[in-house]
Amino acid sequence: MNAVEIRGLSHRYGAGPTALTVLHDLDLTIPAGEVVLLTGPSGSGKTTLLTLIGALRAVQTGSCRVLGIELSNADERTRVALRRRIGFIFQHHNLLGFLSARENVAMALELDPDLDEAERLARAEAMLHAVGLADKVDAYPALLSGGQRQRVAIARALVHEPGLILADEPTAALDSKTGHETMALLQHLAKERGRTVFIVTHDPRIHDIADRIVAMEDGQLVQPATH
């Protein structure tokens, strides 16, 4: 079973003579449970590919099937529903400053009508234990270090047990040691739970956590490689 199946995917910005095509007839398959790194220079189309897989943009041309959902011609409701089954990790963690770490993580569970408040908070707390922040569950983001905030963001991305985790430059705001530790933790938790992880990064120091590294250049996958 594949988490992501992309066939003939193209994408452009703008229209008419000023239109800029950023993805060209792309094919990519990511099996379930795999940790994949996507590298490439700025402007190569990595982020656009990530937003299409994350159902954050509408697919224009080609097929993009994520967690069994075909996104070409998918309406907004379908894309919103799919996003609830994906975990997102951003370069800037974007935690809600007025909520504690536990409450921030619980936000990923608020959309699940089957969970009550106590269960949501219990699961959020357990997830924070899992990322090594047992003593920070009630701390507000302003009181956490950059690495701790990113671990809260990882906990938020994992707590609702998504089938796919998408991360964009997750180590960019962290020092080398903290960055590697954080990504190793993400890889460990994802492998433990059988989750698929797709990371866009410029950071060569985290290549060792990947099952596979793919590279992009000028909107095309140029160098599929096995790690």
Binding site: T78, N94, L96, F98, L111, P162
Partner: protein
């Protein structure tokens, strides 16, 4: 690192993934979570919350005071009309308000008596005349009513038979004990018996009091018999009256008699029922004066100022947290859900700002009443009405601010 194992769901996500056509987002949380989020966000920055609340308090205060003054004006303006003990009234066609009435021939009252439904008629004379404060010697204008004491036409507080009988003697008057204090210590002087004063430079004896109070058109009032009135308001023609009060026989149809009077009398007079003569006075202040418009403008300004302040707070909150809103969208929160967060914040501001605004208004009502001697009353309907206005004001602010949410694009988070 297996703490979550007992909580993990048994079914693998991929194995149970539904087809695209069938997938629909589950219902978003109701109002509880957006409300809680909004409150936590507002509470997180006390200084900004205080600024927002001060805007709502200011708007609440301004609206309460404007409505309070307006209603006090209207209530006081019709005190006389509501106290008239008659069924129909005549006033000159050009009269705009009682305190500046144009007189009409007394003969119209005699003509009205021709109708079989009319039992009796009573003329009422009105004049603005200066009263000399017995203590300070300063003159101040009051409204003097001239009326036949035996007709018992006026139903002001404290007007009993003894008071009416007292002014049947020439050159005697009854004084308004609820008028402004600038007219002198009337009650304490009367406590020692009747006393003499000067009304329009004529010596009169104050023999009693009644309670009417200051209005926007007069700071105090006095009542005299017709004879005394003509002597004080020298130059007034006794054959010209200001208001004609008509008492009908028991069982007479007021509306039909009014129509009959309109047909009978020349066009120089207007015929009113009790409700109509009060409304006529109210309309003068609302439309002709146009003090009603001015107070209405004050209410509108309060609403606009409050709306702008609340909008600015909500808008800047959204702008400063655009990344967080976009993140929530990426996580599957809908625009509608986030709009509910913003609207919840607006409603919290409405509720929290209204309460201190109400308390401050109650205090200002007391102060204003003591200063201008026109009672400003806080009533539950008025408080409810103002809360409704504040509620709408905050909802409008929230609806305008919500447009900023469209700028929160989750795709922008990956850049």
């Amino acid at each position: 690192m297996n703490e979550l194992a007992p909580l993990a769901r048994a079914s693998p996500v991929l194995a149970t993934a539904p087809a695209a056509a069938a997938i629909q987002p589950p219902p978003a949380p109701g109002l509880r979570l957006p409300f809680r989020l909004a409150w936590r966000q507002l509470r997180h920055e006390p200084a900004r919350l205080a600024a927002a609340l001060s805007g709502v308090v200011f708007a609440t205060l301004l609206i309460f005071m404007q409505i309070g003054f307006k209603n006090a004006l209207f209530d006081s303006a019709v005190l006389v009309q509501n106290s008239l003990r008659a069924d129909l009234f005549l006033m000159h066609r050009t009269t705009e308000a009682l305190w500046r009435s144009a007189s009409f021939p007394r003969a119209r009252l005699a003509q009205a008596l021709a109708l079989p439904e009319v039992e009796r008629v009573t003329p009422l004379y009105v004049a603005n005349v200066p009263w000399r404060n017995p203590e300070t010697g300063l003159n101040r204008t009051l409204l003097l009513f001239g009326v036949d004491p035996t007709a018992r036409l006026l139903g002001f507080y404290g007007l009993d038979d003894a008071a009416w009988d007292a002014i049947t003697r020439p050159d005697t008057i009854l004084f308004d004990e609820r008028g402004k204090p600038e007219f002198g210590p009337i009650r304490s002087l009367l406590a020692q018996g009747s006393f003499f004063g000067e009304l329009n430079r004529k010596r009169v004896e104050v023999v009693g009091t009644f309670g009417l109070g200051a209005t926007f058109s007069s700071e105090s009032n006095a009542i005299a018999s017709e004879t005394t009135f003509w002597r004080i308001a020298s130059g007034r023609n006794p054959a010209q009256v200001d208001v004609g009060a008509i008492m009908l026989k028991p069982g007479a149809d007021v509306a039909a008699t009014k129509r009959a009077l309109q047909a009978l009398l020349p066009d120089d007079v207007m015929v009113f029922t009790r409700a109509e003569i009060a409304q006529f006075e109210r309309d003068y202040w609302a439309k002709v004066a146009p003090i009603g418009f001015i107070f209405g403008l004050g209410v509108a300004i309060g609403l606009v100022v409050g709306c702008v302040i609340v909008y600015q707070i909500l808008f800047s909150d959204i702008s400063r947290h655009l990344g967080e809103y976009a993140t929530l969208k990426a996580m599957g929160y809908t625009n509608g859900y986030l709009a509910r967060v913003v609207m919840s914040a607006a409603l919290i501001l409405a509720a929290l700002g209204f309460i201190p605004g109400l308390v401050l208004s109650l205090g200002l009502y007391e102060i204003a009443t003591a200063q201008i001697f026109i009672p400003l009353h806080m009533t539950i309907p008025r408080a409810s009405f103002v809360f409704g206005l504040i509620f709408v004001m905050c909802v409008v602010s929230g609806l305008i601010a919500i447009r900023k949410l469209r700028d929160a694009d989750p795709a922008d988070m990956f850049r």
